[in-house]
Structures are given as structure tokens and as C-alpha cells.
Amino acid sequence: MTSHMTRDEMTAIVREELTNVAPDLADETIPIDADLREEFDLDSMDFLNWITALHKRLGVDIPELDYPQLTSLGAAADYLLRATDRTKSS
């Protein structure tokens, strides 16, 4: 399901999983490059739950040391697109 996904499609998934963890953000406009923890009151547990949900949904391993790369919706989408590419080519 993850093949040929566009950045917009990936961003939509990332946003959907985020609002599952933090439904209070469902009616917020979240700029694609906004720092999520900084500007939207996500704490470490929210962040972990979000990453776990993305891992489950996409089957992508996200090592703990890569977490800081998933700072915004856009950054997370880009990271996951790269990671799914790697998974396919390996």
C-alpha cells in the first residue's frame, strides 16, 4: 500500500495518525512545517504514540535516534517516504 505514495498522500496519513493521538488538533490548521511539539502542545508520550502508530500503519521501522527528524508534518512525511523507499529496495 505504500508504493508510489506521493508526499501529499503521506502527509495526509501522518496528519491522520497525529489527530488520532491528539484529537484536539483535528479542527486546527497545522502548517506543514510547524514544529509540532513546540507549537501544538504535544508531549513526549504523544510523540511516542504517534510514532508507534505510524510504524504500525506503514510497517516502517523508525529507530529512536531518528525521532528528532520527525519534527513537523512535512519532515515526518519526507522521512517516511525515504524509509518506505529503503524498505522496498532492500
Partner: protein, 606 residues
Amino acid sequence: MGTHPRPRLAGSAELAWETMHKTDHSDWPPPNLADYAAACGGFSWEAARAALAGLPGGGLNIAFEAVDRHLTDGLADKVAIRWLAKDLTHRDITYRELAALTSRFAHLLERLGVARGERVFSLLGRVPELYTAALGTLKAGRVFSPLFSAFGPEPVRSRMEIGDARVLVTSASLYRRKVAPWRDSLPGLAHVLLTDAAGDDLPAGTLSLAEALAECPDSGGLADTKPEDMALLHFTSGTTGLPKGAVHVHEAVVVHRLTGLLALDLHQDDIYWCTADPGWVTGTSYGIIAPLVLGATMVVDEAEMDPARWLMILECQQVTVWYTAPTAIRMLMKIADQEHPGIVQDTDLSHLRFLASVGEPLNPEAVVWSCDVIGLAFHDNWWQTETGGIMIANCRSLPIKPGSMGRPLPGIEAAIVERDPATGEVTVIDKPDTPGQLALRPGWPSMFRGYINEPERYAKCFAGGWYLSGDLARRDADGYFWFLGRADDMIKSAGHLIGPFEVESALMEHDAVAEAAAIGIPEPTAGEIVKALVALRPGFAADESLRRSLLAHARKRLGPAVAPREIDFRANLPKTRSGKIMRRLLRARELGLPEGDISTLESDER
């Protein structure tokens, strides 16, 4: 560290962990607490009080002990605070600079007409202004009350109302999101000072902190506080009712200093890092006061927990003493173990000498992990908002029993007691390894002096000459204490005590909710997370959309640190004859534990 203890099979099938004996390093400074028995035997609070400078004209002031006294003891130009911004640029504040900054803040309170003893609240991330506001308020003899910036609008409002806030120091964004919507409901809140707005950008009714400070003198402003004058107001949660504001007095600094020495083994040359946010009591007692009183250099990191960043800070700042929390340690355990030490092995942690942990019991696996991977054991310790400082600790010079909170510090008398539910009579349990309530003999200087405006709740904490902690524990034959659980329904998540009533009250505001119960359920990283069980009013359907609506509502009101992470629906919640929801029974059922005594159950769960 010489030994690598592994769990061994005890008499029963129960796993026991081997006691860790420590080998000292010749290049380390000698431990402050070298002989536990001698220190306990020869202890006197008079001697501990005499170790402080005291005010020039008599009296005692925490800020003077932490800052101004170092202007004359050779430490004036030493770095007091090394502040690391999110982008890792740093700002060093010397003791001399800190004295000037806090004097300005003290004068500002005077100019604003804030009276002695009135409350100054902060709602800030870990920015330098938080530290100068805290110490400036104490210097001025006003009372400082720090709030955690991840609180939602409701916990912020209720605490400021209970504490009768006169001044709030916050940022423009936090003010707009968490204070402005209800500001008019607190007419006593006379001044709001913003750290990051000025001129035309200031919202109505706020002042620029920087502009206001610039007009104030940078010396003086020290109040002639007495040891029993109120200094700090730390909020903690209750099982029932609103949050409680625990009152601490200037004399608490006797314990901050003593425990910094004995429990954290702080020496003047240490680079010390306490990762706790000053919004919680650890972040004030040990993230501001203790290290400065002892003349150490303390590291403050503005950013949230990130394992790789933290390792880098430990290495680059050459941290020697590190005080952190089990949740953070468990996050570090995910990135390295003995077989795959990876990034931890690649980090130079050779400057570290002492590791301590607080917030919730540190699991023995984490103690062993730190030995194996970092080469030093974490020393767990125990205390509460009410105790003001560390009471029971694993000390540098004593063997560690992994999973134990350690032994009472010199000057602290701790016991396991049993309270007769009928008569209220308290009996001390002397037989080792018998579960009971952990109690302390009142009289240590940092003991809370009251819950603000609630003398009855305060009185309930004491019985038979003991302070009853509400924690269940046992003491083994060697005098080590072991945490067993809470005696009440309080929830401990990521080291923070969360009161179920506060969570339930926010849920009850939602139109769909007829009744709600908040309980703690185990979670590997945070220890516990908050789960809410909710019964709906007629006409509402228990579906996914409503669940999300309730979660969203709770998060907006309470903030992520307090709001439930999970919500389940029930047709009815179990209640006693008097209508009290039986959280304990709900929790037991949720976790598949024995239901215990359900004789008072009147209306059962459906």
C-alpha cells in the same frame, strides 16, 4: 563499578536482585556521606542550620543562600547557570550576574505594589527568565509558585485561583492560549509580565518583562525574611477535590542544602544537571535551589527529552552529577543495551560520577542497565511535594539494592505504620518486610507548613505523631525501604502525580458525560497512563466519534500531561451506597487483579 548483578532465584519463584557493592574511584572527591551510621547518630538540625550563611541582620532567605552569599565567598564570577537553548547555543550566567538579575526582579515586584507574602506565578518553559523570576521573588520575600507549561488552561486557572496569584510571568504564546481566555475571572491577578513581547506587540493588560526590569536597580532588593516565612507554593493533586497548594518556608533551604550534599553527593566543583522542570517540585528544590546553595554550576536544557541530545549534553558539558527520572532512563534503555551499546559507547561519559533518579520507583532492570551500559548505577530516592526535599535515598557510600528507594537520610525518621480504620490510631510496624504506609516523623525544616487555605486537609495528613505519606511500602531487615503502591487512587504518570478528580471534573463538563472515573493503568515508559471510564447521558451514542470528542475536550482543558490517553465507555460505573465511584475496583478489573473488599458496592459496573 565492580559488580554486574543479575537476578537470582530466591526461595520462591520470586526473582531477587543482588545487592550492588560499589568500588570507589581514587580520582573522585570523597563522598559527602562517608559513614552512614555515624552521620545518623551524630546528626543535629542545629548543626545543619548553622551551615547556612543567614541574612546579615539575622533571618533566612533562600535566594540569599543560593545567590548573594556567593558574592563574598570567592564564587562571584563562577558560572551558576549554563543555559542551553533549543538550538544548543548557550548562555552562561555567573553568580554575580544572577545576583543583579534577581535584584532587578525583586525591585520590580516592589514597584508593582506586590505585597510581602503575595504570590508570583510562572508559566514558562525552561528559559533564563524562569530562574531569575524564581530567585528574584524569593529575594523580595514574595512567594513563588511555578506551573508546568504543558498544563492546559484549566489546571493553570484552578492553581492560580487557589493560590490567589497577584503576578504571572509567562510567554506571549502561553498567555494567549492558556490564560487570556479566562483572565477576567481572576480579578486579583494584577500583573502579567511577558518574557518575549514588547511595545506594540503586547496584548492588552500585559507588560514587557524586559522593559520593566530595565528600569530597576541591579543591586539590593533583599527582604529580611524569617525562617518560617512562606517562600514557595507547590501544587499537588488530590484524590478528591481541587489541587492542593503545599506551603514551604524559607527554612526549607536547610534541607535543600543538606540533601544536595548527602543524597546527591554534590561538591562545589560539580557540573550538575537536574532534568526536572521547575513546574514540579524536583525542578525547584534540586533544579534551582540546592545546586546554587552549594556553589555548583548547573546545566539547564530548554528542550524536551531527546535521548541523543541528552547524551551529547552529558558529554559536551562534562556533567558530573546527573539527577533524572525513570521515564527518561527507560527511553535511554531503548537505544542501547550491554550487547548493543551503540551511541552510549560512542559518547564520552567519563566525567559522570553520580547518577540519581526520582519521580517513581526505578525498576531494578534500569539500575542494572546503567551499571552495564554507563558504568555507574542509578541511585533511586524518594520524597514528595509535601516533604520539600529528599527523605529516603540510595547514597554514594552505601550498597544499592536495585528496586529499593534506599534508607532514610540523617535527620529523617521514617517508619512503616498501620492505621486502624475505625479508631484512626497509628501503630508502627517493626517486623521487616511487612506492608504498611510510609510515615515520617514531623520536624524536618522543609516539611510543608500547610495546604493553602485548607487546614483540614493538612491536619488529615498527620496522625499519632507521624506525617502519613499516602505511599505504601515495606522496610527490609537491613533498613532499606521498598515502594509498593499508593494508599489512595492517585495516578503516577511520567513521574507526575495526577489527581483523578481533576480529570473527571473536566470530562464531566462535556454534555455527553453522566459520570466519569480516572484510573492509572501500567505503561512501560511512563509507568502509568491515565485512562478514563465514562458513562453517557441518555441520547448519546458510545461511538468512536464521541470518544475522540471527549479526548479532544479533555486535552484542550487539561493539557497532555494530565488528560487521559485512553477513554472507554460503560453503561454504569460501580458505586458505593453513598454514590462514590469505586475507582479501585475499576482499576482491579481493568488489570485483572483481585477485586478485594467490595462489601460497600451498591451499584455495579455495566
